[in-house]
C-alpha cells in the first residue's frame, strides 16, 4: 500500500511538469507567438536605432546648453521667441509642400506617358527615368551645385544666348529656394513615377473602355477613373514623401548650407547648424523635435482618409 502511495506521488510530480511543458508548447506553437519571434530582431533594431535616439533627443531637449542642468521646456519657449525659428517653420512647409506637389504632378504625368509606351521600350524608359533616384543624392547634388555656379555654370551660359541672366541661383533668396526645390523635385519625382506606374497598371483596362463607351474624354477618364482608383496610393506616397522631404538635409546642406541669410534652412539643416556647428545640442534636439507634431498632424489627416476609403470598399 505504501509503495502505491509513493508511486502515485511520483506520478503526480511527473505529470505536473509535463502539463506545464505542454501549455508552453501550445503557446510557442501559436501563429502570433511565432510571428512575434520572427519580427523580434526587427523590433530590437528599431528600438535601438529609432526609439533610443528619439527618447534621448527628448531628454537632451530638456537640458541647458552645457548639458549639465535640467531646464524643462525653456529651450522650446526660447525657440518660439526667435524669428529665425518661425522662418524655418515657414520655409520647411513651403519647401515640403511645393516639392511634393511638383514631384507628384510630374510623377503622375510621366507615369502616364511611360504607361502608354509599349513592351520592351517601356522597360528602358523606366530604367532611365529612375536614374535620379538611385544616384546618391550627395553626389548628384554636387553636380547640381556646379550647374548652379553663377560664373561658369552651364545654366547661365545657356541662358546668356537668350539674353537672360546671369541668375544668382544660390545667392538670391528666391532663386536659392527655387534651386533647392528643383533639385529635390528632380531627385524625388522618379519615386512617384514608379509608384504611380504600378498603380496605373492595376487599374483594369475595361474601366477605361467602359468610360469610353459612356462618353468620357481623356480628361474625364483621368478625373473620374484614374484619380479615384489611385487615391489611396496617392495619399500614401504623398505622406511618405512629405515626411522625407520635410526632413531633407543633404540637398540644402550641399547647395546652400541654409543661406543666403538662413533663407533656405529647413528643420534638419537648422538643427544641424544650431546643435552641431554652434555646439548647442539641446537646442538642436529641440528644433528637430518640432518636425514630429507637424508631420503627425499631416499623417493623421492623410491616413484617416485612406482608412475611410478602405472601409467603404
Amino acid at each position: 500500500m505504501a509503495d502505491v502511495v509513493v508511486e502515485q506521488g511520483r506520478l503526480a510530480r511527473a505529470a505536473r511538469p509535463r502539463k506545464k511543458s505542454a501549455s508552453l508548447r501550445h503557446v510557442m506553437g501559436r501563429k502570433s507567438t511565432v510571428a512575434f519571434f520572427l519580427t523580434l530582431p526587427l523590433i530590437l533594431l528599431i528600438a535601438l536605432l529609432v526609439l533610443y535616439p528619439a527618447f534621448y533627443s527628448l531628454y537632451l531637449a530638456t537640458l541647458n546648453k552645457a548639458m549639465t542642468k535640467f531646464v524643462g521646456l525653456s529651450n522650446f519657449t526660447f525657440l518660439f521667441k526667435r524669428e529665425t525659428f518661425w522662418m524655418v517653420v515657414k520655409q520647411s512647409c513651403i519647401f515640403a509642400v511645393t516639392a511634393v506637389i511638383f514631384k507628384a504632378l510630374i510623377g503622375f504625368i510621366v507615369a502616364h506617358f511611360v504607361h502608354n509606351i509599349p513592351g520592351k521600350k517601356q522597360r528602358k524608359w523606366r530604367g532611365m527615368l529612375l536614374v535620379p533616384w538611385v544616384i546618391p543624392p550627395a553626389m548628384s547634388t554636387l553636380a547640381w551645385l556646379w550647374l548652379f555656379d553663377p560664373s561658369y555654370s552651364a545654366f547661365n551660359y545657356t541662358l546668356s544666348f537668350f539674353g537672360v541672366g546671369p541668375i544668382p541661383w544660390l545667392g538670391d533668396a528666391f532663386w536659392a529656394r527655387f534651386s533647392v526645390i528643383l533639385v529635390n523635385v528632380w531627385y524625388g519625382a522618379p519615386f512617384f513615377l514608379i509608384m504611380y506606374l504600378a498603380a496605373l497598371k492595376s487599374v483594369p483596362d475595361q474601366l477605361y473602355e467602359a468610360a469610353s463607351i459612356d462618353g468620357a474624354n481623356w480628361w474625364q477618364k483621368i478625373w473620374h477613373i484614374t484619380l479615384p482608383m489611385m487615391r489611396n496610393i496617392i495619399a500614401i506616397t504623398t505622406l511618405f514623401s512629405l515626411i522625407v522631404t520635410f526632413a531633407n538635409f543633404d540637398i540644402v546642406r550641399i547647395l546652400t548650407s541654409g543661406g543666403p541669410l538662413d533663407q533656405t534652412h529647413l528643420f534638419a539643416t537648422w538643427a544641424f547648424q544650431v546643435g552641431i556647428q554652434s555646439s548647442d545640442i539641446p537646442l538642436g534636439a529641440c528644433v528637430s523635435l518640432f518636425m514630429v507634431p507637424i508631420l503627425a498632424v499631416a499623417a493623421v489627416f492623410i491616413l484617416r482618409d485612406v482608412n475611410k476609403r478602405g472601409n467603404e470598399a
Binding site: 473602355e209 467602359a210 469610353s212 463607351i213 459612356d214 462618353g215 468620357a216 479615384p228 470598399a313
Partner: protein
C-alpha cells in the same frame, strides 16, 4: 435603335488575321449571338463594332452610317463586359448614371431613367451600394442597367454570364431575354456557350478561325448545319461523326459504317445522296438524341444494331451511353429505364431520317 452592318471587316494584329473579312447584317431590334470557340474572333468583332478596336479593313455601319473612324462615345452604343467593368468607387446609381452625367442630362431625367432601369432589373434596393457590396448576379444587373439608362442604338454584350455560376447563369439568361422583349434594342451578344446562343438569339452567327461558318436561326443551325464545325459545335452532347461509305445493294442505296453494320437509307435521303460518287470518303453525322434504345414499334428509317456499351452516364431524365464503332467513339441517349449498364450489350436504334452526310475532306454537309 438601329441596324448594324459589317462589310468585309478584317482585323490584323501584325501578321495574324484575327477576323478575316466577315459580312454580317443585323436588323433593327434583332438579337444576334456571335458564338464560337476561344480565339475565333467573336470578341474582336464585337470590340470593333464598339470602336474599342480599330478596323484593319472593311466597313462597319450603325444606322446606315459608316462608323470606322467614329470614337466609341459617339457611336451611341452601350456595352456589358464579361467582368462587368463597374466603377468600384461609385455607387450603383452613380455607375448607372455616369454616361448621362457626362452628357449633362438634366438631373430629373437622370433620376427618372435610373429609377426606371432599376425597377426593370429589380435592383431598386441596391441603388446606394457600391459594387463590392453586390453579388455577381447583382453586379451583372447593374452593368445591364448602365447600358439600358443610356437608351442606345445598340447593346453589345461580351460574354456577360461567363463569371456566374451555372444556376445564376440560367436565371440571368432569362432576365436578359425578358429585358430584350421589353426594350427591343438591337443586340449583339458574344458567347462561347452554345446553349446561351441557342436560347437567346433570334439568329446565331457561328464563327471559327476568324470567319463566319454559318448564320441562321437556332433551329436552322441545329437541324441544317452547313459544315462539320457547326454540326459539332451546336448541340450538347456533340453530334457523332462516323466514317462511312455509300454502296448500292440490289438497287437500294445503303450506308456502310463497318464490315458488319450497313443500313438502307430512307427514300428521301437515298434520293438526296444518290448522285454522290460511291468512292467519296464520307462521314455520317448523327446526334446522340437520334441514337436511342431499340423497341418494338420502330418507324421507317430507324435501323437497329447491337453493340457493347463502354460507359453509361445516368442524367436522371435520360442516360447517355458511350460505345465505339471500329475505334470511333459514339454517344447515344437512351431512356433511363432501358437497362443500359457499363460493359453490357445493348441493341440501339439509329434514326436515319435525321442523319447528315458530310464530306470527310472538306467538312461540308452534303
Amino acid at each position: 435603335m438601329a441596324d448594324v452592318a459589317l462589310r468585309k471587316v478584317v482585323k490584323r494584329y501584325d501578321d495574324v488575321e484575327a477576323v478575316r473579312g466577315i459580312d454580317l447584317d443585323i436588323a433593327d431590334h434583332e438579337f444576334i449571338v456571335l458564338v464560337g470557340p476561344s480565339g475565333c474572333g467573336k470578341s474582336t468583332t464585337l470590340r470593333m463594332i464598339a470602336g474599342l478596336e480599330d478596323i484593319s479593313d472593311g466597313d462597319i455601319m450603325i444606322g446606315g452610317d459608316v462608323v470606322n473612324d467614329v470614337p466609341p462615345k459617339d457611336r451611341d452604343i452601350a456595352m456589358v463586359f464579361q467582368n462587368y467593368a463597374l466603377y468600384p468607387h461609385m455607387t450603383v446609381a452613380e455607375n448607372m448614371s455616369f454616361g448621362l452625367r457626362l452628357k449633362h442630362y438634366p438631373k430629373a431625367e437622370i433620376k427618372a431613367r435610373v429609377t426606371e432601369a432599376a425597377r426593370l432589373l429589380d435592383i431598386t434596393d441596391l441603388i446606394d451600394r457600391k459594387p463590392k457590396q453586390l453579388s455577381g448576379g447583382q453586379r451583372q444587373r447593374v452593368a445591364m442597367g448602365r447600358a439600358i439608362v443610356r437608351n442606345p442604338k445598340v447593346f453589345l454584350f461580351d460574354e456577360p454570364l461567363s463569371n456566374l455560376d451555372a444556376k445564376l447563369r440560367v436565371q440571368m439568361r432569362i432576365e436578359i431575354k425578358k429585358v430584350h422583349q421589353k426594350v427591343r434594342t438591337t443586340t449583339v451578344y458574344v458567347t462561347h456557350d452554345q446553349v446561351e446562343a441557342m436560347t437567346l438569339a433570334d439568329r446565331v452567327v457561328v464563327m471559327n478561325k476568324g470567319r463566319i461558318e454559318q448564320i441562321g436561326t437556332p433551329n436552322e443551325l441545329y437541324h441544317k448545319p452547313a459544315t462539320r464545325f457547326v454540326a459539332g459545335f451546336i448541340g450538347s452532347p456533340a453530334m457523332n461523326f462516323i466514317p462511312c461509305r455509300l454502296e448500292d445493294v440490289g438497287g437500294t442505296l445503303q450506308i456502310r459504317l463497318t464490315d458488319r453494320i450497313a443500313f438502307p437509307l430512307p427514300p428521301a435521303r437515298a434520293t438526296r445522296y444518290n448522285s454522290l460518287p460511291r468512292s467519296e470518303k464520307l462521314l455520317l453525322g448523327i446526334r446522340p438524341e437520334h441514337l436511342t434504345e431499340s423497341h418494338a414499334h420502330l418507324g421507317p428509317g430507324v435501323e437497329t444494331f447491337d453493340t457493347v456499351l463502354d460507359v453509361t452516364e445516368p442524367m436522371g431524365m435520360e442516360t447517355l451511353v458511350y460505345f465505339g464503332l471500329e475505334g470511333t467513339p459514339i454517344c447515344g441517349r437512351v431512356d433511363p429505364n432501358a437497362g443500359a449498364k457499363d460493359g453490357a450489350p445493348m441493341r440501339l436504334a439509329m434514326d436515319l431520317n435525321n442523319m447528315h452526310l458530310l464530306n470527310d475532306e472538306t467538312g461540308v454537309v452534303l
